[in-house]
């Protein structure tokens, strides 16, 4: 049973870990998918903004200027470096205008998303009518040329597209018609600055819902295991109770059976001494069975069903009388009982019969579990305005792990060293019900092998 239970807990924990793994994997996949979708949306938005007449007219500003520079280059009026420098200057001039158009367009397409745009030169070459190609700029040139947008590191950015501007250009060179072919390659990049905040915002509902669902499953599992443990404990307690009551009933019944056999035996016939002894035993066993049945019946009462007949009396006198009577009923030579009874002067309102039963139960328990030196105290606790009755013993004590269960119905501490103590696990339960019926409380302080202190508190009326 214990192994089965541990196995069940282990499987539950394993399932929970697997659930966390699957949940994490699904959230990660959703994140990646969202990122891809977002990237596609961003490209489409950029396309919408970029491929417009307004942007095209801005770009023709540097294109026309660049043709003029290339003509000058062909005529030998400027160097390649000058031509490129002029291209840079021109694009720097028109870039603010482009950025204003771009940002306005992007704000309309994807509001709240900060996407940087960059169009840079990959290579520039010019071919003449004879097919000779002159390369003005190569991609690996350390002096990078940015045409439009914002200058960011391309390595961490996403490439949107390559474009190739090829155009034949006729011009007059020293009075003669001339021609060149331009091959102008560019790359367009985008860089999303707030990837994480955009995606986190989009996934936040999913993430929070997953966390809540997970917490709910953990809570449900915890509740189920707690419930299972409780059920298991109840089942064990009931089995223990049945075993105990069977044993408690079997002994007097066997004794009665033997007594009857003895009385009817031909050997005992006419022997008055044997007959008297057997009759006395039958009487005692009858009382014993009656008490046992009463105890079981009483224990079925909850504190709400206990009908109290309260009266007001002096608690100090009551306690002294109760202890005097109790000492007469036990072997007082083996038990040392110390009294610490205060003359409180404050009346105690309680049902004498039930309160006596509760205190005697505690005294009996103290002796039953090895107590030989008992200290009974009575007084007023001014901090919470209650009458307190405490019973301290030097018995075997109760390990802290069992203390919270000892007032439960049928519960008995079942450690190896306490198997020898007979009982049904009803005494402390019934005592607690009596005290609760009085509106009071009962608590225990104990340490294994060092004794226990049970304290009853009844409110001052």
């Amino acid at each position: 049973m214990q192994l089965k239970f541990k196995g069940l807990v282990a499987i539950s924990i394993f399932t929970l870990i697997a659930l966390i793994g699957i949940q994490g994997y699904l959230i990660y996949n959703t994140y990646e998918l969202k990122k891809k979708t977002f990237s596609i949306d961003a490209r489409m938005a950029i396309s919408k903004v970029y491929y417009t007449k307004e942007v095209d007219s801005i770009m023709w500003l540097y294109r026309n200027d660049f043709f003029t520079q290339l003509e000058a280059l062909k005529k030998g009026e400027i160097s390649k470096k000058d031509a490129l420098q002029r291209l840079k200057q021109k694009t720097e001039e028109i870039n603010p205008g482009f950025l204003a158009v771009y940002k306005k367009g992007m704000e309309a397409e994807m509001p709240g998303v900060d996407i940087q745009f960059k169009k840079s030169v990959s290579s520039i070459s010019v071919s003449d009518s004879l097919g000779n190609t002159d390369t003005l700029y190569k991609e690996d040139d350390p002096d990078k040329i940015m045409l439009l947008g914002e200058n960011f590191d391309s390595q961490n950015a996403a490439l949107i597209t390559y474009s190739n501007w090829q155009e034949d250009h006729d011009f007059v060179n020293n009075g003669n018609p001339d021609f060149f072919k331009l091959n102008f390659k560019t790359s367009i990049f985008m860089n999303v600055l707030n990837w994480n905040s955009v995606l986190t915002k989009e996934l936040s509902v999913l993430f929070v819902a997953s966390c809540l669902l997970f917490l709910f499953v953990v809570g449900l599992l915890y509740y189920s295991i707690q419930n299972l443990m409780k059920q298991k404990r109840v089942a064990e307690i009931k089995t223990d109770f049945i075993n105990n009551i069977t044993h408690e009933l079997k002994t007097p019944l066997s004794t009665l059976s033997l007594a009857t056999k003895t009385l009817t035996s031909e050997h005992a016939n006419g022997n008055k001494e044997i007959a008297d002894g057997a009759v006395q035993i039958i009487d005692r066993q009858n009382t014993r069975l009656q008490k046992l049945i009463d105890q079981v019946l009483q224990s079925s009462l909850g504190y709400q069903e206990i009908q109290l007949s309260k009266e007001t009396f002096n608690g100090s006198i009551f306690m002294n009388e109760l202890l005097d009577d109790y000492l007469l009923s036990v072997n007082s030579s083996e038990i040392k009982l110390h009294r610490n009874i205060d003359s409180t002067g404050i009346a105690l309102e309680a049902d004498k019969f039930y309160l006596s039963t509760a205190i005697i139960n505690l005294l009996n328990n103290a002796i039953k579990y090895g107590g030989t030196e008992l200290t009974v105290s009575y007084g007023i606790d001014k901090t919470d305005s209650t009458h307190y009755i405490s019973i301290k013993d030097n018995g075997i004590g109760i390990s802290p792990k069992y203390q919270r269960f000892i007032f439960e119905k049928f519960y008995r501490v079942s450690e190896k060293d306490t198997h020898n103590y007979k009982g049904l696990g009803l005494g402390l339960y019934y005592t607690k019900q009596i005290i609760k019926a009085h509106g009071g409380s009962i608590s225990v302080e104990s340490e294994a092998n060092k004794g226990s202190i049970f304290t009853i508190k009844i409110p001052i009326i």
Partner: protein, 52 residues
């Protein structure tokens, strides 16, 4: 007469059983706890043991 060791902690049941066995011609040694029972076992030769 056969000897029987009776180990029983219940006073009334022990008394009755001892008496009943004696009426039926057994000699009964009654141990009221386990330690006492082992003492009897060490000392005596017994026919049967009733360990209750």
């Amino acid at each position: 007469m056969k000897n029987i060791l009776l180990a029983e902690d219940d006073l009334d049941f022990g008394t009755m059983l001892k008496q009943y066995l004696e009426l039926n011609k057994f000699s009964v040694s009654w141990a009221k706890d386990g330690n006492e029972g082992f003492e009897f076992l060490r000392m005596a030769i017994l026919t049967s043991v009733f360990w209750m």
